[in-house]
Amino acid sequence: MAPALLFVGLFVMIPLGQLVAVSLTDRSLLGGDRFIGFTNYWRIWNDSNFWRALVFTAKYTLILTPILMVLGFLLALLTVENTSLKRVTRTIVFLPVVIGLPSSSLLWFWLLDEQVGLVNKLLVELHVIREPIVWFATAPLAFWAVVMSITWKVVGFGMVLFIAGIQSINPDILEAAVMDGAGYWSRVRLIILPLTRRVLLLTTLISAIGSMLAFDQFYIMTSGGPRGQTFTAVYWIYQNSFISFKLGYGAALSIVLTLIILFFSTMQIALTARSVET
């Protein structure tokens, strides 16, 4: 216990305390380090760009998380048995997970390019579209382009967790259900889903927190554009801290985002824990 506490204290609590302290100052890389109380927090309240970025981040999280959950679960159902073909399929689906997020974002950025991108070329050759789509010209298209790239990148992670969850179910239970005449989808709905609920919670949490902290993919693929419509909360923190060099304000934004994520994560854990008990 003590080493864990020491670790958390050293690497989480002390930096967090420092972050809170910085958030109460007007510290900037270009001068200024006065204590200004809660002025930064009051500025956040009036910062329409931050709230717009936060709403966009929430929308991204609410859309992406179910996609990752459903697809991950379905892929797990498809590949849960340990046959050679299914193992290969699992490996292929999981492969993008080991690629770095900046690399995969850059890969998709060029795949979707309207001049040299393979996606447009394929769609034109298949006569799905007449001329190449400029994917990052409008906010909705840019949004779906990022969702597509992230789904490709991380769906394998959820799949592997679900496979582990499904494989840990006692086969006798599933066998008994078969003998009782339960069909495939009945077994999925009444046995597999309830017994993998903890995995579902874990996967949802990881996915939701990851989405709330989204940065690289938007930084690389959309640059926050067009006209700042695809800024995420973390992107806005980055802009303030490392482009505008307002470290105090950036720290305050980080604290607010941390509290928001903490609140929703706690809610989610509490709700899921209650449903597991019942």
Partner: protein
């Protein structure tokens, strides 16, 4: 007797060489990655002609401010620093740099340095740095496409309207040949290559403080209207809308773009990569004939407070402004000098396009503002928002109004 004299002379020479070696110092210099090529030429020249040496350290562009700011606070700074000139006002105000007023004002070479470099390095009447490795924006045109379109290949557009008219004729060639190009999602590219057209037309771009006006004059509107029309008429490739600068230099190299505002750095790339591309270089025009301007960019060199070899660093700054350094360090390597009077030199004589580029520094401007990154360079800046809203959404007046308000708000912080 002769032998004794010879021995004495040898001893003297030997001891002076020893003394020079013994007292030679090594200075440190930080340079941002974008300027490292030019800085290396200058430093190599210095090192080969001076007993005191310079050790160059490359800092990634986006880390320069952080490194220098934390370095100044910790007392751990290089002796010299070469950085993007747009940060000069912020650094001077923050007190990061050594005052060089007396030295530079007494330096005859400094008098002929481009005015833009003098302006950007002045704060409250004092001078804190000098132009070091310049870059400047220009207009390039593809002479072969001009000829094919029935235009005079030796007559570049003289006004913004002529750019529009010429671009229309070039686009009429059809296919994937376009009249004009700009990187629609790149704030830096457009302040560099488009804002000089507005400045040439009489506009002032950015406010120096919260009481100052932004985007004044009709030039901003006129240029944006023309760009909007060129975009609407399909004279610019669709990909321009989302180009965040990745294709800023690539498009013209394809030979399928008629006209583009770009940087002097493109010249050596074009000559090396597409030697058969027949192109010309001219100043960026305004709305009326005879109006010209450019954006003077590149790096300035300054001495951070806390430099351990300040006297030597001052010597380097005086040296880098001399004819020798400007010509043998910069011009010889196809880099334009920071003194426009040196544009006509033996190294540029073979290519008049380089001479035009070097002269563009003399007609150029650089905005003197704090928070340049917030106002212009950031992905959410009022500059890029105005640019995109005006051209791609077509709301020129609304875009300018919003741009003015937001810029003023930032300047007042």
């Amino acid at each position: 007797m002769m032998r004794t004299c010879g021995a004495l002379a040898a001893l003297l020479i030997g001891s002076s060489a020893f003394a020079a070696a013994a007292f030679a110092d090594t200075m440190t210099m930080w340079v941002r990655a974008s300027g490292v090529n030019a800085a290396t030429h200058m430093v190599d020249l210095w090192n080969s002609t001076h007993p005191d040496k310079i050790e160059l350290t490359t800092i990634p562009d986006n880390q320069m401010v952080t490194k220098l700011a934390t370095g100044v606070q910790a007392g751990d700074v290089p002796d010299l620093v070469s950085f993007d000139l747009i940060y000069m006002p912020d650094f001077m105000k923050a007190g990061f740099l050594v005052d060089l007023t007396d030295q530079l004002k007494a330096d005859p070479n400094y008098a002929s340095v481009a005015q833009a470099y003098k302006d950007i390095a002045t704060y409250e009447g004092k001078l804190y740095g000098a132009g070091f490795t310049p870059d400047v924006s220009i207009l390039v045109w593809n002479k072969d496409l001009f000829k094919k379109a029935g235009l005079d290949p030796e007559k570049p557009p003289q006004t913004v309207d002529e750019i529009h008219a010429d671009a229309k004729k070039i686009r009429a060639l059809g296919g994937d040949t376009y009249g004009f190009y700009f990187s629609g999602a790149c704030p830096g590219c457009n302040i560099f290559a488009v804002s000089p057209m507005m400045v040439a037309s009489g506009s002032k771009m950015l406010p120096a403080n919260g009481n100052d006006e932004a985007l004044t004059g009709e030039g901003v509107k006129d240029v944006l209207e023309t760009f909007k029309e060129m975009w609407g008429e399909g004279l610019v490739p669709k990909s321009a809308q989302t180009d965040n600068g990745a294709n800023f230099t690539a498009e013209f190299k394809t030979g399928k773009i008629g006209i583009q505002g770009t940087g002097g750095f493109l010249l050596s790339d074009l000559k090396k990569e597409v030697p058969n591309l027949n192109f010309g270089v001219t100043f960026l025009p305004g709305v009326k004939a005879g109006q010209v301007s450019s954006f003077v960019g590149g790096d300035v060199v300054a001495i951070p407070k806390g430099s351990k070899h300040e006297a030597l660093a001052r010597k380097f700054i005086s040296w880098e402004l001399t004819d020798e350094a400007q010509l043998e360090g910069l011009a010889k390597n196809n880099i334009v000098p920071s003194r426009p009077a040196l544009a006509d030199n033996k190294y540029f004589a073979a290519d008049p396009r380089v001479v035009v580029t070097a002269k563009a520094i003399g007609v150029g401007y650089v905005p003197w503002v704090f928070h340049f990154a917030d106002m212009v360079n950031s992905d959410s800046s009022p500059w890029i928002n105005m640019f995109q809203r005006a051209i791609f959404d077509g709301d020129v007046d609304g875009a300018i109004k919003e741009g003015r308000e937001k810029m003023k708000e930032i300047a007042g912080q």
